[in-house]
Each structure stands twice: as C-alpha cells, then as structure tokens.
Amino acid sequence: MFQIPVPVNVNVAVAFDLARGNVLATPLPPVRDALHTATSVTTSRYRLRWNRLSQWATFEDDMNNYFTNNVTAADIAALVMNFSGLQQLWNAVNESHIRTEAQIKLRFLIYVKEVHNIVANGMYGAPPPEDVHSSIVEVDSGSGSHGLVGVSDFALRNDLKGRITVVGEVKNPRKVTPEQIDQVIDGYPNYLLSLIIKEQRHSPENTMAVLQSSNSMVTWFAMPKRLASLLLCVDFASPIALMALSCL
C-alpha cells in the first residue's frame, strides 16, 4: 500500500535573504520569439482616441528623483524575498516560447505582477515599503472585477480605497516598435499605434453605452477617472522595453 508522504507545512515564517533593491534591479527573464499564431487587432467598443497627447520627456529624471529623494535606504535594504523564490519565478518565464500576446500577458502576470506585489505591497509576508504603492491586479471578467466594465490585461489598484488607478495593456514589442512610438510623439499619425492609444484612452471605467427604448435613443456616458494609462511593451528578451503613456 502506498504510504502518503508527510505534507510540507508551507505556511511557516521564512527568513528572507534578498533585498528590495536587488530584486528591483534584476532584469526580466528572456523568452524566445516563436512563430506568431495570431495578430492582435483591438476592436473593443470601449476604445476612443486621445484628444491630446504630449511627450513625458522627464520620465527618467522623475524616476531618478524618486529613488534618490523618496525611497529610503532602509526600504532599499529591506529583505523582501528569498533568492530561491525569485529564481523560481524567473525560471517559470525564462526561455519560454511566445507566440501570442496572451502568452506575453501570462508571463507578465507570473513574473512582473508577483515580484512587484512582493516588493511594493508586502505580499507573502514581505515588509512593505514606507511609501504606499498600488498593486498589480489581474482583470478578467469585467463588471464584477474591480468595478470595471471592460476588460484590460491588468490594472493597478489602490488597495486602501479599492480604486483602480491605472489600466494596462501588454503588447508585443515586435509589433510596437520605438519608431512607431516616435511617430506618434512627433505628430505623425500611425494607424497601429493610434489603435493602441485609443484602447488606452478609453479605459474600462470610461465606459458608456447607448440604450434604446422604443424608437428614441437614450444616451449614456461616463466620466473617466484615470490618472494614467500605462502601456507596457514588455519584451522579456533583450532588450527589455517599457513605454509609459501618460493620460492628459
């Protein structure tokens, strides 16, 4: 008769050995670019064009100021997770083959979401930082999910207020290139990019619908409440690219 092995008590306190700063400085794992089996064309009824868009030219300086002046040395040095845990998350993504945008999203949720929420939100027993961060949440079923009506790839959420602060889309970096982003910033209309931007602008909470009763139209509209839309073109292979969109 097979003897059932003794189960492991995974709910025990663990001594962390990896500092927050080291985790944040770790590059994303690479993936392999497999034959793409699908194209991503957004046909959501919620997309809407931006009326105005300008460059966030100080992004890197702003980030530098934040880490220099706002993030404490204690937060950088705080031990937040185990090397083995980080390595397992990293290996779960490393060298995997990517064929579709959905597969990129899955890797994003496996690695970026998990690591971010450990480091920034104190998940799994990690000591949270002194400044409070929104957490990365998965968005799935729309109206019951975080009060959203539409469905985005992920979102950032103010857990204290239960309020979504950013909606995010994960894009294939081989289809969204730096040149195309430059064209948008420089004022050249680009069909592909304008589609993506519309998708971001009309975030799920900016929802509207048109109802019809008998022969008259009843119009519904909603005020958007977004701080910013974040478009992450996460290329897990080198180079890793990030593009941030600021909502005006």
């Binding site: 809407l48 961060h133 602060t165 022969n215 977004r226 996460v234």
Partner: protein, 176 residues
C-alpha cells in the same frame, strides 16, 4: 507618453537607453498612481456635456474622439413616470461606477437621467454574449403587470452590437 526605453546594454540604438530596470520603473509608476486624484473628462468651460461615443466593435478602423454635446432641451414636459415614455428623451447626468454610493452589486449602478435628475439602475454585463441581457429583458417584459409594485419597472435595453446593458426603475428600500 514617453519614448520607448530599452533596458540593458544590448538594446539597439532605436530604443532610448535607460539606466534603470523595468521593475524599478513599474515600482515608480505604482507609487505615482497610488495617490493621484481622479481626472474627470470635462468640457473645459464650454456649455454642454462630454459624450463618449462607442467605437465600432466589428472593425478596427479609427475610433471616435470625445464629443461635447449640448444638454437636452430643458422645456420638455416629462410624461408621468408610470408611463416611462419621458425616458426616451433623457440623457445620463453622470455615471460614476467607482463611487461606492452608486454601486449595487457587481453589475448594477445608480445613475441619474437629465433633465429631471431621476435615479435609475443601470445593469451591465461585460461579456460580448448578449444572451443574459435578452433573457433579463424578456423576463421583465413578462412581468409588466407587476412593474412598480413587485418588481422594478423595465425602462430600456441597449440595441448596440456587443453592448449588454438594461435600465431599470430605481426603488429605494428604507432601512428597518
């Protein structure tokens, strides 16, 4: 909107070099997002209200931009509420699903109609499949004799492709 950053020494020159790692950038953004206030769409002082039109869900062509529309005619005489015909010319005053006071469960929100500022209930399904909407609308229509007494009055259902919402009478139930 930023240029597209490349992280790491192997990034081609078409990417803009950034000395931070992507996880640091996300860490910064999640902090930035946390305390930012709402940024509602406004008419920027112009009369009227902001209208967010639907994009065509069956095509990937250019989506519309927001529009500023004039308010509904103020001299319209509303019909008695029991007939609900006056809803036909109404527009939504504000739909703010993020406010807890407007939330009625996972799919329903309180909204107001202009010009009379009457509260109604908007029930919305996120899925493209409109089966649930049609089933619910059909059920309410079958219960029409009970509208306003045992069940809320059914006001409208949307007729847009891929859109799944209905509007119902709002009934305030006092706390006991």
């Amino acid at each position: 909107m930023t240029r597209m950053f490349g992280f790491g020494p192997d990034a081609p020159p078409t990417y803009y070099q950034c000395r931070f790692q992507i996880m640091m950038a996300i860490y910064y953004l999640s902090r930035l997002a946390q305390d930012q206030p709402d940024t509602p769409e406004t008419t920027q002082g112009r009369p009227g209200f902001v209208f967010l039109p639907f994009a065509d869900p069956s095509r990937s062509n250019a989506a519309p931009t927001i529009q500023i529309r004039l308010p509904a005619a103020q001299n319209q005489q509303p019909m008695p509420p029991q007939q609900f015909g006056w809803y036909n010319q109404s527009t939504l005053a504000s739909f703010e699903p993020w406010k807890k006071g407007n939330q009625l469960g996972f799919k329903s929100w309180i909204v107001e109609l202009l010009p009379d500022r009457v509260k109604i209930v908007l029930k919305m399904w996120a899925e493209d499949d409109d089966t649930k909407k049609h089933n619910e609308a059909k059920s309410y229509k079958l219960l029409k004799p009970l509208w306003g007494t045992c069940v809320p009055s059914f006001i409208a259902e949307d007729s847009w492709e891929h859109s799944n919402s209905i509007a119902l009478e709002y009934i305030e139930v006092p706390n006991r």
